[in-house]
Amino acid sequence: MNKAIKLENINITINNLTKAYSKDKGVFDLNLSLNSGGINLLIGKNGSGKSTLLKCIMKLISYSGNIEKKRWRIGYAPEYYIMPDFFTVEEFLYNIGRIKGLGKAAYHDHSIYLLKMFNLESYRHKQIRSLSNGMKQKVNLLQALIHDPKIIILDEPLIALDSESQKNLLSYLHELAKTRLVIISTHSPEKFRYKSRNIIEIVNGRIQ
């Protein structure tokens, strides 16, 4: 007998979200519902408020309004990152994985899979400071995915990646988006050529 598998709907509901840095900088009165099942793409010019919205979801900054979400695991890769240079890739990912509640065995399995996908296996024991910007970006993305989160938030994930890595990442995210909530801020929506995508354009801190 076939057993139907019911996929859990993972969603974030945002009501009247405002974070004002100045009169025209920040996000203003945003109302939005983000759901799993397809990639949610945030697009907009520099300074339009994409990263601010993501930081609000991550509770990294204070805001007024309401963001409703259950206590799912979240993976977040910021855009402008300074990596902790003296960690090796392994140390960094292991520490993040453990903090995010990953067991040693689960970390081991998942890290091998992800490092292979991003062609980082041979850099596992290298210090982050010795890596190129592209490699650092990969590590940045890996730390967001290492604990198999239900919500994945990536700020400009394609920056500094070579075309092969971009392709691998895109197909991986596409798979993840079927069962997880994936939110991506990007200037290149044309690279996410999947049917199941939800494009949200932000202009001057407001949804168009």
Binding site: K59, I82, F86, K100
Partner: protein, 243 residues
């Protein structure tokens, strides 16, 4: 919390930091050996052991105080740097986790400082008991080193506080200057300038005279300033926007 603490220790004990920390510990041991005046010979030291011990305690106390305090400021600065701050982005999803992150940061700083002073304490006891005839009384040494720890932790909290408010690495000069200025104040004395009074009242101040640790005021009073700075630091770290 333990995982956050491991993260902070992993972050702090980088290869460069380990080298610097080892150098500090070696300097402390060499300084202790130098202040013991071992070159005078056991028999000479045995002529006036009490007097030589008093001189040793004053000199070695000053050495340990300076080394541990500067190291404590350095440790707090490393843990307040932008690269440590950015770990908040990678490791926290809510305020509770952020609180754990910052508490583990403070704890890592305090424990590293306590480790260095424990090393200095054990080195002092071993060197004095093995190589000299000095009648070392542990109570005096424990009292002196406890005040050194108190002062070092106070300076670390000051660093965390200043970084939380101003978020600029040059701010670390403030606790260094305050510490250095405090060391130039002749204490005890009948007269202090207003600035000297403020500093002696705010930063734990003590001196060793004739086997006695003389304090400017009770440790509990210093605790008020320490607690206020610490609470403000915690609140700013947890509630301020991460940039």
């Amino acid at each position: 919390m333990m995982n956050y603490l491991k993260l902070q220790f992993n972050y702090l004990f980088s290869s460069i930091f380990i080298i610097c920390y080892a150098i500090v510990l070696i300097v402390i041991v060499l300084g202790l050996v130098f202040t013991l005046n071992l070159e005078m010979g056991y028999q000479v030291l045995d002529l006036y052991p009490e007097e030589y011990l008093k001189t040793f305690l004053v000199e070695s106390g000053l050495l340990v105080e300076v080394m541990v305090s500067i190291t404590a400021i350095f440790i707090a600065t490393v843990l307040s740097s932008k690269t440590n701050q950015v770990l908040v982005f990678f490791t926290t999803e809510n305020r509770r986790q952020r609180a754990n992150f910052f508490l583990s940061r403070y704890l890592a700083a305090f424990l590293s400082t306590i480790l260095s002073i424990a090393f200095a304490f054990i080195s002092t006891v071993i060197l004095v008991n093995w190589f000299t005839p000095f009648p070392l009384r542990l109570a005096i040494l424990i009292n002196l080193f406890a005040w050194i720890i108190y002062q070092a932790i106070f300076l670390q909290v000051m660093v965390f506080f200043l970084f939380a408010i101003f978020n600029h690495f040059l701010i670390l000069t403030v606790p260094i200057v305050i510490f250095w200025y405090k060391k130039t104040i002749l204490f005890p004395s009948d007269y202090f300038s207003d600035l000297e009074t403020v500093i002696l009242s705010f930063v734990p101040s003590f001196t060793l005279i004739n086997d006695n640790v003389i304090i400017y005021q009770e440790g509990v009073i210093y605790l008020i300033g320490l607690t206020v700075m610490f609470m403000i630091t915690v609140l700013v770290n947890i509630y301020a926007d991460c940039k």
